[in-house]
Assembly symmetry: C2
Homo-oligomer: 152 residues x 2
């Protein structure tokens, strides 16, 4: 669907302005599809993201700060997301013996298992839903990184 249809608007200040809205809309669409796919497993996409980050170091633990700086949305409140994962017994919290201020998070066996199943689903979604060739994806990545040039 063209952006014009999606947000019922035809007047854009210029192509760059339209691109900004297009990115916001595409991100919303992608998040929604993703959340939909994870729903039957009782996970939100933020919770999935935290599990996926933990997997990267598994079976090592990670502290909250290390998880936070790997999140896509930097302002995510990781302690709160971990709360919910802990209730579902997908992760375990413990105080770091190295630095008692740090809370170490570790995947449980259940968490690892659920992650493996959902990762398959998530990868399928990306492969099936995102209709660009490898070459186009590369181009898209370059354009997005150029666009963000003035990132603080």
């Amino acid at each position: 669907m063209k952006l014009e249809q999606a947000i019922q608007s035809t007047k854009f200040k210029n192509e760059t302005h339209k691109a900004g809205l297009n990115i916001l809309y595409t991100a919303w669409w992608l998040k929604t599809s993703f959340s939909q796919a994870l729903k039957e497993y009782g996970l939100t996409h933020e919770q999935y993201n935290v599990l996926r980050i933990l997997k990267g170091k598994n079976p090592e633990q990670m502290c909250v700060r290390d998880i936070a700086c790997r999140m896509i949305e930097k302002s995510s409140n990781v302690p709160r997301i971990v709360d919910r994962l802990e209730i579902k017994k997908l992760v375990k919290r413990s105080v770091s013996s190295f630095d008692k201020r740090e809370t170490m998070i570790q995947l449980t066996a259940a968490g690892l298992l659920l992650l493996e199943v959902t990762t398959k689903k998530a990868d399928e979604l990306f492969d099936n839903q995102l209709c660009v060739t490898d070459e186009e994806a590369k181009q898209l990545n370059e354009l997005l990184e150029k666009l963000r040039q003035k990132e603080a």
Copy 2:
């Protein structure tokens, strides 16, 4: 900043997968910059979006449903956003005489004024922060719309 730095990750399944994450990250970055710029006016970017939509029809009123279908994030809860705009006297609610189920929303003079000021800021942000040429923006728009081809 490269995506790899931003989310401290170098392993992507493929370029398309990376593009998906890149879109999500870019959208977060854009939203954050935007919210920052609106902050001194006491507006969130969702509230701004609703005001902007209302301006499109001003001085005509719009019903909640018509606003909702123009929102970038389709699952936005428009009545609640309107609640907050109403408290700030930026919009006015009234029952439609045409169909009493409908709530009609109209910009107040204060809303219109605030919108004009913030629109300038918002446009500046888009122009200054998004570092792509017109040609690149066009390409980006084409790629995003191709990517979303399988949109439901």
